[in-house]
C-alpha cells in the first residue's frame, strides 16, 4: 500500500539575502511560514516544486519540507524546519528578530 502523503510546503533560500522563504498559493515568496501554501497532494507538490525551481533568479535550493496543518497555517514536522522558521537559538538574530513580512 502506498504511504500516505505528508503535507509539504515549498521552501528555499532567497537569492540575495539567503534567508528562508516559502511559496504562497498566489506564487509569492514569503518570509512567514503562516502564509505558505500547504500542499496535501503529492502530484501537486511535485508540480509546485518544479515551478519554484524554475524561479532560479529569486531563490536557491528549493525543496519540499514536511509540515503539519495548524490553526495559524503550516507547522514544521521536524526541528530543522522549526529552526529555519525561527533563527539560531544562541542569538536573537534571523527571523525571530524581524517583523513578519507580508509583502
Amino acid at each position: 500500500m502506498a504511504r500516505e502523503f505528508t503535507p509539504k510546503v515549498v521552501t528555499a533560500n532567497a537569492l540575495i539575502e539567503g534567508d528562508v522563504v516559502y511559496l504562497t498559493a498566489d506564487d509569492r515568496w514569503t518570509r512567514d511560514l503562516a502564509e505558505a501554501e500547504l500542499l496535501t497532494d503529492e502530484a501537486e507538490a511535485d508540480y509546485r516544486l518544479l515551478q519554484a525551481q524554475a524561479r532560479a533568479g529569486e531563490v536557491v535550493g528549493a525543496y519540499l519540507a514536511e509540515m503539519r496543518p495548524g490553526p495559524h497555517g503550516p507547522e514544521p514536522a521536524h526541528f530543522r524546519e522549526a529552526f529555519r522558521r525561527t533563527g539560531p537559538s544562541n542569538r536573537f538574530h534571523g527571523k525571530q528578530a524581524e517583523e513578519p513580512s507580508r509583502a
Partner: protein, 556 residues
C-alpha cells in the same frame, strides 16, 4: 608576521574581479545556481540554514592588528557585528548578503586576506601551532613552512579537484598543540645530525571514520618537502576513491591500500616530482623566512607580574590557566578565552576584535593568533604588562580564566547555523559552561577538554575530546552520544562511545555526572580526567552515566 608581496596582491585583485563579475552574472540571471555554486564555494561562500556564510582563511591562525581590525570592520559593515572563529583557525561571517560579498572580499584583500580554498576538494587552510615562534619547546617557528605550503597549494592546478578536501598541519615541537595527527598530512619539523627535516604523518582525520595519522616518512630532508608533498597528493589524487564521498579522504585510501603500498606509490612518484623542482621552492622558503619578522623582545623586569599575582586572586587564577611560559622567561604567552560561561564558543564582537588588535599593538609586538580551540592568543607579552592586558580584557568581557578547563569547550556551529548539522551544539556548550559556573568546580576539576559536534563530520573535534559529544537526529529528535578518552595531544587517541545517547535536556546533567564521578574516582587532585579514565576504563563512568542511583549523586 609574513608580509605579502606585490604578486600576492595582484593575484587577489584579479581573483576578486572575477568573482565580482560571477556574482553579477548570477544576480542578472546569466548563471544558474548549479553553475554558480562551485564558483562561490571556491571563494568561501556557503549557503547555510538562515543565510549565506563567508569563511575567511586565516593562514596558520596568524593575524596582525591591521588584519584583525579589518575583520572587525567586515563584521560591523556587512554582518551583525561579530564573527565566529573556527576549529580550522578561520573566521566565519554568518549573515552576509550575496550582493555584498564582492565588497567584503575587496576589503579583505586590502589587508592581504581572502576566502580562497576555504571550501571544495582542495588543499584547505594550512594550520600550525598557535604558540609558534613563542613556545619554549619548538626547534624553530613552523609558520614559514606553513606559508610555503600555502603559496604552493593556492590555486595549484593539479590539486583543485581532489577526491575530497585535504588538510595539512605543521608543527615544530614534540608537544602537539595543533591536533597534527588528525590531519590528512601532518608535518613535524625535526632535526637529525644537524640537518632540518620532517616527520611526515598521513591519513589522520575525524569525520564518520576517525583515524589517527600514521608515520609515512620518519625523516624527510627539508629540501624535499614540496616534491614529496606533490608525490603524496598525486598518489592520493590517483588512488583516492571518487565513487563514495564518505570513503574519499586520504585516510581511507591509506587504510584500504595499506600504509606500505601507499608509501610505495609515493616513493615511486617522488623522483619524477623532484626532478622538475629546480630549487625555486628552497629559495622561496628562504625569502619567506626573511619576511617573517620575529619580534626582538627587550629584557623586562617581571616584578609587576609577580606582585599582581600575589595581590589579586582573580588575576592569579586567570594567569594560572591563560598564561603559558614563553621561551623568553620575562615574557608570557597570553591566551584570550572566547569561552565566557554561557557565550558562544569562538564568537567575538567587532569591539572585542578591535580591543585585541589594540592590545597586540600596545603590548604584544603586533602578533595575534587564532587557536584551533577557538580562542585568541597574544604570543609575546612582557610579564610585567600582563596585568594591564588582563584588566583591559576583563573590561571587554574577555577576561575568562578557563583555558584548558571544562568550560573551554570546542563547539561547531551545529544546527543553529550549519546546513549539514543533525543537532545543535552551541546551546549544549552554553549549558555545560553555565552549569560549571554555577557549581564553581572547574578549577578543582582541572584539565578537561569537552568537544561537541553537531553532526558526524566532527568539525567540533568530538572524537578527540576527553569528553566528546556528538549531536544526532534520532527519529526526529536531537540526541547526543558521548565518547570518553579521546586525546588531541601528541598521544592522539579516538574516544570510545559510552552507550546510548541522551536527549537535549539530559545531556548537560549527563556531563555533570561524569565530572562528579571523576572527582570521586581520581587518586589525587593531580590525576587528570583523562588519566583517571585511562587507568580505570569505561566501567565506572558508564555506571555514573546510566545507573539510576548515580543521578542522586549529582549536586543540588
Amino acid at each position: 608576521m609574513y608580509r605579502h608581496t606585490e604578486f600576492d596582491r595582484a593575484f587577489l585583485a584579479e581573483r576578486n574581479r572575477q568573482f565580482r563579475a560571477q556574482v553579477e552574472r548570477r544576480i542578472a540571471g546569466h548563471l544558474t545556481e548549479d553553475e554558480f555554486k562551485p564558483l562561490r564555494l571556491m571563494n568561501g561562500l556557503y549557503l547555510q540554514l538562515h543565510a549565506y556564510m563567508l569563511r575567511v582563511a586565516i593562514p596558520y591562525g596568524s593575524l596582525d592588528p591591521a588584519k584583525m581590525r579589518q575583520l572587525a570592520y567586515l563584521a560591523e559593515r556587512w554582518d551583525k557585528g561579530y564573527g565566529h572563529f573556527t576549529t580550522r583557525t578561520n573566521i566565519q561571517y554568518n549573515w552576509p548578503k550575496l550582493s555584498d560579498v564582492p565588497d567584503m572580499l575587496d576589503a579583505l584583500a586590502q589587508v592581504g586576506m581572502h576566502a580562497i580554498q576555504t571550501s571544495g576538494n582542495t588543499i584547505r587552510n594550512v594550520t600550525s601551532d598557535h604558540f609558534a615562534g613563542a613556545a619554549a619547546d619548538e626547534i624553530e617557528d613552523p609558520r614559514p613552512v606553513a606559508e610555503l605550503i600555502r603559496q604552493w597549494s593556492t590555486d595549484h592546478p593539479e590539486f583543485q579537484f581532489l577526491p575530497r578536501k585535504f588538510k595539512i598541519a605543521v608543527i615544530a615541537s614534540e608537544t602537539d598543540r595543533a591536533v597534527m595527527k588528525s590531519h590528512d598530512v601532518g608535518l613535524r619539523l625535526v632535526g637529525r645530525a644537524g640537518a632540518r627535516g620532517f616527520q611526515v604523518w598521513v591519513g589522520g582525520g575525524m569525520g564518520r571514520t576517525p583515524m589517527v595519522a600514521r608515520l609515512l616518512r620518519d625523516f624527510l630532508p627539508e629540501a624535499d618537502l614540496l616534491p614529496y608533498l606533490e608525490a603524496v597528493l598525486a598518489s592520493y589524487n590517483r588512488l583516492g576513491r571518487r565513487d563514495n564521498k564518505y570513503k574519499a579522504r586520504i585516510k581511507i585510501t591509506v587504510h584500504e591500500q595499506g600504509l606500505d603500498a601507499f608509501r610505495d606509490a609515493v616513493e615511486a612518484e617522488f623522483p619524477r616530482r623532484r626532478a622538475v623542482f629546480t630549487g625555486i621552492d628552497r629559495d622561496r622558503l628562504d625569502e619567506i623566512r626573511a619576511r617573517f619578522v620575529t619580534p626582538r623582545l627587550p629584557e623586562r623586569d617581571a616584578a609587576a607580574y609577580c606582585s599582581a599575582r600575589d595581590a589579586d586572586p582573580v588575576f592569579r587564577a586567570w594567569s594560572d590557566t591563560n598564561v603559558t611560559p614563553h621561551r623568553h622567561a620575562d615574557h608570557g604567552i597570553v591566551t584570550i578565552s572566547l569561552k565566557a560561561h554561557g557565550a558562544t564558543p569562538g564568537d567575538a564582537s567587532a569591539e572585542q576584535m578591535r580591543l585585541v588588535a589594540d592590545l597586540a599593538e600596545r603590548y604584544g609586538h603586533g602578533d595575534i593568533r587564532v587557536s584551533h580551540a577557538q580562542n585568541l592568543v597574544l604570543p609575546h607579552v612582557a610579564l610585567s604588562d600582563i596585568p594591564a592586558v588582563h584588566a583591559a580584557l576583563r573590561a571587554a568581557g574577555l577576561g575568562t580564566g578557563n583555558i584548558g578547563l571544562a568550560s573551554d569547550i570546542i563547539a561547531c556551529p551545529g544546527m543553529d547555523y550549519c546546513a549539514l548539522a543533525t543537532a545543535r551544539s552551541i546551546p549544549v556548550a552554553q549549558g555545560i559552561a553555565t552549569r560549571l559556573e554555577e557549581l564553581k568546580i572547574e578549577h578543582e576539576v582541572g584539565p578537561l577538554q569537552i568537544k561537541i559536534s553537531g553532526c558526524i563530520n566532527a568539525c567540533g573535534h568530538h572524537h578527540v575530546g576527553h569528553i566528546g559529544i556528538l549531536g544526532l537526529d534520532r527519529a526526529g529528535v536531537e540526541n547526543y552520544q558521548i565518547t570518553l578518552g579521546g586525546d588531541p595531544s601528541e598521544t592522539t587517541a579516538i574516544g570510545t562511545r559510552t552507550g546510548p545517547g541522551f536527549a537535549y535536556d539530559e545531556i548537560v546533567p549527563a556531563v555533570e555526572r561524569l565530572i562528579f564521578a571523576y572527582l570521586d574516582l581520581r587518586e589525587s587532585p593531580e590525576e587528570t580526567f583523562l588519566e583517571t579514565f585511562n587507568r580505570l576504563g569505561m566501567a565506572p563512568f558508564k555506571s555514573a552515566l546510566y545507573d539510576g542511583e548515580a543521578r542522586a549523586h549529582a549536586a543540588e
